[in-house]
């Protein structure tokens, strides 16, 4: 006979202000099976938990129902509490009377009634609960980092530093990511390459880090501690082990009209190329769309020129299968496409550029060798106008509803650098709001105004058009209540950023959730910001939300510490809420095996006594509890009801339905 205790939390006033906790306590005390019911201000507090422990001992409770916040919040807490008091951790049920009740209802009568129903439902369920013990699985002591930008690099270096193996999978031919494209970084104006490339080299030199460049994650199976990942190494048509990065092939290539992605397509590169001087790995790659040999079997010059015989036109995609204990997702971002913002004339005017393009135009390794020249005619721009919030904070459907977070700072940086290097240049910035929270950030922006004399105009630009060779920037000066037109030589659009589109595919493969803006969802917005909802998968960098370099690095290191914590364990406690089969019921029809996504079900021939001293051999299902993840697909497929799920048994759910429907 079960003896159930019910503990009703006030959650301060979060619950108690809307739910009459006294009435809930009285009602629950009368429920069959309930021997004790009490309410308390904060059940999750030290005192609250002590209250539960005492009650378990005093009333010889066999199970507890806590009516509080979402089980996603404190189920684990109360399981530990129960365990500490000698109960089985799974003899705990939570009635969610905060998120599903007090927070969404205003009427006390209505909320109290609903809270009572929810609590009764939990009691109905716990009466059928059974003590469960979690199984254990081993941990593969290796991590996978998806994305080789600054987030991925930092995470990999930190994990490797703790002594664990790390693989970086980067879809581009080199690691480095967006940060490698930046000229300077705010708020200190260090050269981006100078602080990034040593980290890239560290990755290449670490014996713990293995870089799969120009590779993509093909398939992910398994679960925390035991992921099986298939990696596609795309054909680069150059043998990585032989290429020395000498660059002779690049000089010899006759097809030189490829767009240089690293320079934001502002200049050209040959069909065989190394993305940039400090690329890691420093290995050439052939663009199959552009290579004459691959397209029409003509040429072959690079192969003839290559001194080490690294060119392999016949190379095909290959696959690597590896096991990992943890995965870090760091897939980064890209600037949005500007097709919906033609009022700024980006499509028609070469001298309207995005901020990332400006980074390349200012960079010593860029198309202009670091001298700021207009793309149209190669002249020095004398008047430069910046437009902020291009595509950010836009709910009209043309852009992104969020603030891209980094634009105010990099625009101030650009303005400052231009005024520093070319003091005769006039710089205007159209802004809606300036958002510079962060250490030394607002000071940085003010320097642009006070020290460098950048003209900040509060207002938005309505149209950019070409007139007499000038880019006419027509916009509002709201503080002056005027419409102004600034004839400019160069217009820079602080373009919104969005998650790299590859993240959708990765999210699907890892079964982690993505929000309406394609950012990955963290397990808890405040308390678990670097964990995904899927155990063993962590998030770093802009794939989780807009952030700048220092924030990205912090998050990457936080991810690394989570990964290290996970890999340091030899065994992981599994989820005991797994499927199990009643062999007496099982007919061996194979349908459960067909729906199991994990291959956790196999069949065995087993002898059964059938009475009269006789036996018969029947084929029955068998569940591997270490592999089963507890989705329950098999339980519904099974016509005979032989399959059931611990913790969510059919009988329990039916009782819950009955409790809810009891009027």
């Amino acid at each position: 006979m079960q003896r159930i205790g019910v503990f009703i939390c006030h959650c301060g006033s979060n619950i108690a202000a809307t739910v009459d906790v006294e009435r809930v306590t009285e009602a629950l005390a009368k429920e069959p099976g309930v021997v004790y019911a009490v309410n308390y201000q904060y059940m999750c507090s030290e005192n609250g938990q002590q209250l539960i422990k005492n009650a378990i001992a005093e009333h010889r409770l066999t199970g507890i129902v806590v009516c509080s916040c979402s089980p996603r919040m404190h189920e684990a807490t109360f399981r530990k509490t129960a365990e500490a008091a000698g109960l089985n951790a799974y003899m705990v049920e939570i009635a969610n009377i905060r998120e599903q009740c007090s927070w969404i209802h205003k009427d006390i009568e209505e909320a109290t009634e609903k809270a009572i129903v929810l609590a009764r439902t939990a009691v109905a369920k716990i009466l059928l609960d059974k003590p469960l013990t979690a199984g254990e699985t081993g941990v593969t002591k290796r991590a996978l980092v998806i994305g080789g930008g600054i987030a991925g690099i930092q995470a990999a270096l930190d994990i490797a530093d703790a002594g664990y193996e790390v693989d970086i999978v980067e879809k581009r031919p080199t690691i480095g990511g967006r940060m490698a494209q930046l000229d300077k970084t705010f708020p200190t104006l260090d050269c981006s390459a100078c602080i990034l490339t040593p980290k890239m080299v560290d990755c290449a030199q670490s014996d713990k880090i293995n870089i799969f460049s120009y590779s993509e994650v093909e398939e992910v199976k398994g679960f925390v501690g035991n992921f099986d990942v298939k990696i596609r190494k795309k054909a680069r048509h150059v043998d990585e082990t032989k290429c020395t990065g000498c660059g002779v092939c690049m000089a010899s290539c006759p097809s030189k009209k490829g767009l240089n992605e690293f320079n934001m397509n502002l200049n050209n590169r040959p069909a065989i190329y190394i993305p940039f001087a400090q690329a890691i790995p420093n290995v050439a790659i052939i663009d199959p769309e552009q290579c004459l040999k691959l397209k029409s079997d003509k040429c072959g010059l690079c192969q003839r020129k290559c001194g080490v015989g690294a060119i392999d036109y016949k190379q095909e995609d290959s696959f690597v299968e590896r096991k990992y204990g943890a995965i870090v997702v760091a897939t980064g971002f890209r600037p949005i496409k500007l097709d919906n913002f033609n009022e700024f004339g980006y499509a028609d005017n070469k001298d309207v550029v995005t901020s990332l393009e400006l980074e390349r135009l200012m960079n010593a390794a860029g198309p202009t060798k670091g001298t700021l020249l207009r793309p149209s005619d190669g002249k020095h721009p004398k008047v430069i106008t910046f437009i902020q919030c291009v595509g950010s904070r836009d709910v009209s459907g043309c852009g992104k509803p969020y603030c891209s977070k980094i634009c105010c700072m990099y625009t101030a940086k650009h303005a400052m650098l231009i005024r520093e290097k070319y003091p005769d240049t006039e710089v205007h910035v159209f802004y809606i709001d300036i958002r510079t929270p962060g250490k030394n950030y607002d000071e940085f922006y003010r320097r642009a105004v006070e020290q460098y004399g950048v003209d900040y105009i509060k207002g938005m630009v309505g149209k950019v058009y070409n007139e007499n060779g000038k880019l006419m920037v027509q916009g509002s000066d709201l503080l002056d209540n005027k419409q102004i037109v600034i004839p400019s030589d160069l217009v820079v659009l602080a373009t919104a950023i969005e998650p790299d589109p590859s993240v959708r595919d990765i999210a699907t493969k890892l079964t982690i959730s993505i929000d309406t803006n394609d950012f990955l969802t963290e397990a808890h917005a405040k308390l678990r910001p670097v964990e995904s909802p899927t155990a063993g998968v962590f998030l770093a960098g802009v794939c989780q939300g807009p952030k700048d370099v220092p924030e990205t690095v912090s998050q990457a290191s936080a991810c690394a510490s989570k990964v290290i914590g996970l890999l340091a364990k030899d065994k992981l406690k599994g989820n005991p809420c797994v499927s199990h089969v009643d062999e007496n019921m099982c007919t061996g029809c194979s349908q459960c095996e067909q729906v199991c996504p994990y291959g956790a079900i196999t069949y065995i021939d087993k002898e059964f006594r059938i009475g009269g001293g006789k036996t018969e051999t029947r084929r029955v299902a068998s569940v591997n509890p270490a592999v089963c993840q507890g989705c329950g697909a098999c339980t519904v497929t099974c016509p005979s009801g032989a399959m059931d799920l611990y913790g969510f048994s059919s009988a329990q759910i039916l009782k819950e339905v009955e409790a809810i429907c009891k009027r």
Partner: protein
């Protein structure tokens, strides 16, 4: 190919050319334009106020008529196009307007935006195809031509869904098809000054002048339009060596059916 055709008042009076050349060209391209019966004025401007239903009813009548024909309503005048397309959008997406309009009209069967509104230019692009026009051209118009879109064809972009509202290309593609050289100029989608002509003619003249000067600066010899009001305002604006014509006139000329 058959379309129910809504000409509109102005095409029966001051803009007869716009209409006549459209019909001649359509015939040459094998498009059947069947003028709908007993059409009424579209209301000339789309009423922005949510409580204005009466002005929208004639558009709904025309739409309902076309629904019972081939479901395609062809328009030519930019203003009619704008009004009818937007009213159609209301009938599809604004439950309140839909309800009230249907209550007023008491049609046999409710009208819920089933008809597709097609502008003559959209018809050329999506049903005839500019490639086919190119093949049908007998006298290529070898001139530098500036397309003048104005406001009504393009905005609001999401409702009109005519072309990219800030970087349209449909008329430029049309110009290329009839053998001309399109001149893209930034003011092609700016307002000509519209009806304000009657109360503040100075504003209208400034706006129209800016459009023509901008087209000229970019090298246009002719400016073409689909809107009788733009046509009037631009025509009234003194600008040397700049012709303003309806696009259908050039089309008829190119197809060799201009009488």
């Amino acid at each position: 190919m058959k379309f129910s055709y809504y000409p509109g008042c102005t095409l029966k009076t001051q803009a007869k050319d716009l209409d006549r050349y459209a019909r001649l060209s359509a015939a040459a391209l094998g498009v059947d334009m069947e003028e709908i019966k007993e059409w009424q004025c579209c209301g000339a401007v789309y009423p922005l106020a949510k409580d204005e239903i009466g002005v929208k009813l004639s558009a709904v009548r025309a739409l309902d008529y076309a629904k019972h024909e081939d479901g395609l309503l062809l328009t030519l005048c930019s203003a009619c196009h704008n009004v009818i397309k937007r009213v159609n959008d209301d009938m599809r997406n604004d439950a309140d307007i839909n309800l009230r309009a249907n209550n007023y009209l008491a049609l046999d069967e409710k009208y819920n935006g089933e008809t597709k509104v097609v502008h003559y230019l959209e018809m050329l692009r999506d049903y005839v195809g500019f490639d086919n026009i190119k093949k049908a051209v007998k006298n290529p118009i070898k001139k530098k031509i500036g397309a003048y879109y104005g406001c009504l064809l393009l905005r609001p972009g999401k409702v009109m869904a005519f072309d990219n509202p800030e970087n349209p290309t449909i008329i430029e593609d049309f110009i290329t098809a009839i053998g001309g050289t399109p001149v893209k100029y930034p003011f092609r989608n700016e307002c000509c000054g519209a009806y304000v002509k009657l109360v503040n003619p100075d504003l209208t003249e400034r706006k129209s002048k800016k459009v023509l000067e901008n087209a000229k600066e970019n090298g246009a010899e002719i400016v073409i339009t689909a809107c009788p009001l733009c046509y009037y305002n631009l025509k009234q604006t003194p600008c040397e060596d700049m012709e303003v014509v309806y696009f259908t006139e050039l089309l008829a000329e190119a197809l060799g059916v201009k009488d």
